[in-house]
């Protein structure tokens, strides 16, 4: 073990740690903040909120996004809502309960102190967003409405119809736009980070390719913040946006940042099943639908009758049967595995028999068409546009799909990676969700990190560099990184093989979904670890990329992202092999209970596995951070 994994968890009782920490870290005085340049990559909830807040504080901020506008980041697609322990419903919620639910929901593989802080800041996020004009759903009296979500027995989820992510992102984007107009943020659109620059062991800048001109340039700052999201697109078919990728965090990993728990991926239970082989992505149907929809399959295998013709006694409401206490609202990992088992048993429905029903008939009868329409109209319309079926009349068909990655760059309590000066926030880091993320918690984490955590912790690092200018971009470390990027681009555009980038991406995705998806085993993972390097070699020899390095070249952009996925995929499989237990979204077939539920092994695996780059993607070095549980007792999760 050679990485220094000091989590910097503050002393004191869990309720006091964050307050104590804010008091003990060093500050930068207001007049000095403008002397520090901070580079932020990504403009989703984490990046946009961090950029706006740091600029409000007075820091000199530069922001980079590969999109044409900061508003396009994939946070925009989050549907269901955002959790906050406001207890407006008077139903027994509290910061402690949100903290407890999140640690339990993560199957006891997250850091208590981070999760408590997240639950604490959840209150401030709702206040901040409301003041920005985010149009959350309201009651007739004008106060905020809540709904319940998977993994919780209280209603603590705030929402804006089925477009909560969009509204929260636009709030953060507008706050960022205000700082751009004020000249305190410099915005670089259509600019993709292709490498991190490290000098004397510290992150000092990034190398960026302008996607319109093709120009490769260096940018230097006192600190670099990666807010670049997750890597579920390693599976090719996922609910992520087409361009979502791992390149920024993977390039940082290659420069020395530890990669934590890369095998922790979330397969979301309610997505529209694939319809044909050309499908480019899968579409999520918000988990909030499980509040009113009942999941079932025909009891009899290969029952080809229309769903309406199948009587109630001939249906298996399997989640309600298996988990009577939580029913259709069990956490995502539990629901996804149950659906997979049912479909593997040949009980699947639909033309390809690759889904289960999510039925609203009972809810419509109970609450009326209008009430259901008020809650879900835009989701029902989206479903109908994609499938040509009307969910008010015919049950939806759903199946699990890769959705979110809990793994990511290792960070300490300050959100700093193992490279001093390099921070990772939001989905790009590993910190708060353990082995499984609860619904409506991703928006919460992205905004907590960006609005409230990073702005309070980054000064502690910067204070050492007062009155030192950022590293000059003609320093050797920048030259070398820039040359590396240009060489790689040249290598791609001279590739004249026979297969397209997307072909390789699809093939990689098939391997990952088969062997490193919802269910994993030692033989399967070993098979993946022999097939992936072989396919990667073929990619290097035989990929076909047209066009030039100068100007807009979308195939070239994808080639770099897919190449990084090849390396990351190996780390995911190695991590899944290392973790000889089942926990949360990570299910090893060898480790299950008699009922087929996940079997955790706390004695040996209550740790974070942090992988260190060695130069060979097949042989990274593992480092461990032991997790301490002082407040929440480790028990077997039960949702029965």
């Amino acid at each position: 073990m050679t990485l220094l994994l000091d989590s910097k968890i503050p002393d004191g009782a869990i309720e006091e740690k964050w307050e104590n920490h804010k008091f003990s870290v060093r500050l930068v005085n207001p007049a000095n903040k403008r002397k520090f340049k901070i580079l932020i990559v990504g403009t989703g909830l984490g990046g946009a909120s961090a950029a706006a807040t740091l600029a409000e504080l007075g820091y000199d901020v530069e922001v980079f996004t590969f999109h044409d506008s900061p508003r396009r980041a994939h946070s925009i697609a989050a549907q269901g809502g955002i959790n906050a322990a406001k207890n407006y419903k008077n139903d027994g919620d509290s910061i402690y309960r949100l903290f407890y639910d999140t640690v339990k929901g993560g199957d006891y593989r997250s850091r208590e102190a981070n999760v408590y802080r997240l639950a604490h800041e959840s209150l401030n996020i709702i206040d901040q967003a409301t003041a920005q004009g985010v149009p959350f759903a309201r009651e007739y009296g004008g106060l905020l409405d809540n709904r319940s979500f998977g993994g919780a027995q209280v209603a603590r989820t705030f929402y804006s119809r089925g477009q909560t992510g969009q509204q929260l992102l636009l709030g953060a984007y507008q706050a960022l736009a205000r700082q751009v107009a004020a000249g305190r943020v410099k915005l670089h659109t259509r600019s993709e980070m292709l490498d991190l620059v490290v000098e004397d062991g510290r992150a000092v800048g990034i190398v960026v390719r302008d996607l319109i001109s093709g120009a490769v340039t260096s940018h230097s700052g006192h600190a670099v913040v990666l807010a670049t999201g997750g890597y579920a697109n390693v599976f090719y078919l996922s609910t992520n946006a087409m361009a979502s990728n791992a390149s920024a965090i993977w390039r940082a990993h290659r420069k020395g940042a530890g990669m934590a728990n890369p095998c922790y991926t979330q397969i979301h239970p309610t997505c529209i099943p694939a319809s044909d082989e050309f499908q480019s992505k899968l579409t999520l149907m918000s988990e909030s639908l499980r509040n009113d929809g009942r999941i079932w399959v025909p009891k009899q295998a290969d029952d080809r009758r229309a769903p309406g013709a199948i009587g109630t006694d001939e249906r298996d409401y399997f989640l309600e049967r298996m988990y009577p206490a939580f029913g259709n609202l069990v956490p995502r990992d539990v629901a996804s595995r149950a659906v997979k088992r049912i479909v593997d048993d040949e009980k699947g429905v639909g033309p390809l028999k690759n889904g289960v029903y999510l039925d609203f008939a009972d809810a419509i009868e109970r609450e009326g068409h209008q009430s259901i329409e008020g809650r879900y109209s835009n989701l029902f319309e989206m479903y109908e546009r994609i499938t040509d079926e009307d969910p008010y009349r015919v049950p939806m068909r759903i199946y699990p799909a890769p959705h979110y990655t809990m793994g990511g760059l290792w960070v300490d309590y300050n959100l700093m990676t193992t490279i001093p000066g390099l921070y990772a926030i939001g989905e790009a880091n590993f910190s708060d969700h353990g082995a499984n993320r609860l619904g409506a918690s991703a928006l919460m984490q992205g905004l907590a990190d960006g609005y409230f955590v990073l702005p309070n912790t980054i000064g502690d690092y910067l204070a050492d560099f007062l009155n030192q200018p950022p590293a000059p971009t003609n320093a050797p470390a920048f030259d070398e990184a820039e040359r590396g990027v240009s060489d790689r681009v040249d290598r791609f555009v001279s590739a004249r093989g026979s297969r397209t980038v997307d072909w390789f991406h699809k093939e990689l995705g098939k391997i990952m979904l088969e062997y490193c998806g919802m269910s994993r085993s030692e033989p399967g993972l070993n098979k993946a670890l022999s097939e992936i390097p072989a396919l990667y070699e073929e990619f290097k020899m035989d990929v076909k990329i047209l066009g030039t390095a100068a100007g807009l070249n979308q195939t070239l952009e994808r080639a770099g992202r897919v190449e990084d996925f090849f390396e990351l995929a190996q780390a995911m499989c190695l991590d899944a092999l290392h973790r000889e237990e089942s926990c949360g979204g990570h299910f090893r077939e060898e480790f299950q209970t008699a009922e087929g539920e996940a079997l955790r092994r706390d004695d040996e695996f209550a740790h974070v596995a942090v992988w260190e780059w060695t130069g060979d993607p097949a042989r990274p070095q593992v480092n461990l951070e032991q997790l301490e549980f002082e407040n929440v007792a480790l028990t077997t999760r039960s949702y029965k």
Partner: protein
């Protein structure tokens, strides 16, 4: 099914550009329009021709990155639907489909079907926000917002910034986009303090980049979120009132 595409190809802003015809056979009607373009691009690469550049990302109708003119209609024939959510079952087998970029002076062409929509960001920067520094917000339930006001604000806030309204407008006007943001913020109690400066500043920046509205209402038809042109009327009313409002008295 089989379709014939006439696609606008243009290597760069200064290139002349022109239509190219492509036969795309053997596609499924379950495919989205963009998946059909993916298939075309895979075939083009295999044949050694550069693929067609187009913007897209989330493919679920919310990021606003995609958008092309399909047979002269922004986002194609289906109402309230972005290009990525349009499926091939909406076309007939054997159809000839014309595919062009957004055409508007406010959106300079970048390449093929890709245009530069950064003028939209300039409009938001001019006042499309509520000034509230992080940390200074009061409790969220301190200010009740009547449900109807909140719901109408949401209807406006649903805008995805795709630019279809501009592309559909014979004048290349961005009034629906601008009015949607002004409507969202001006309807809420939180947005009142900056209501008049916001309206004035955003409208005037809009007019620097885009044409003028003459009430054709093509924008409403093209909008993938079906945002109502009522918001344009509200914006016009607020713009007029902003010119007359004594700012020292807006707190009353």
């Amino acid at each position: 099914m089989n379709v014939t595409l006439q696609v606008w190809r243009q290597a760069g802003p200064s290139d002349a550009g022109g239509f190219r015809t492509y036969e795309v056979g053997g596609i499924s009607e379950e495919m989205s329009f963009l998946e059909m373009l993916d298939v075309l691009n895979e075939r083009l690469v295999n044949q050694g021709e550069e693929p067609v550049a187009f913007d897209h990302d989330c493919r679920e109708g919310i990021c606003g990155a995609c958008g092309v003119m399909i047979d002269g209609q922004a986002h194609g024939p289906q109402l309230g639907t972005a290009t990525c959510q349009l499926h091939m079952r909406k076309f007939r087998d054997g159809a000839t489909i014309t595919v062009e970029p957004w055409r508007a002076a406010g959106f300079p062409l970048v390449k093929d079907l890709v245009v530069d929509r950064s003028a939209f960001d300039r409009i938001i920067e001019a006042g499309g926000y509520i000034t509230v520094d992080t940390g200074s917000a009061p409790d969220a339930n301190l200010i009740p917002v009547p449900k109807q006001a909140a719901d109408t604000a949401f209807d406006a806030a649903a805008c995805i910034g795709c630019g279809a309204c501009v592309a559909a407008c014979p004048n290349g006007a961005a009034n629906l986009f601008t009015a949607a943001k002004i409507g969202h913020l001006n309807l809420l109690p939180q947005g009142q303090a900056e209501r008049w400066t916001r309206t004035e500043n955003m409208v005037e920046i809009m007019e620097e980049y885009f044409g003028s509205c003459t009430n054709h209402a093509e924008c409403e038809k093209a909008c993938p979120k079906s945002i109502s042109i009522d918001f344009i009327a509200m914006m016009n009313a607020d713009y007029l009132r902003a010119k007359l409002k004594n700012r020292r008295l807006v707190g009353q």
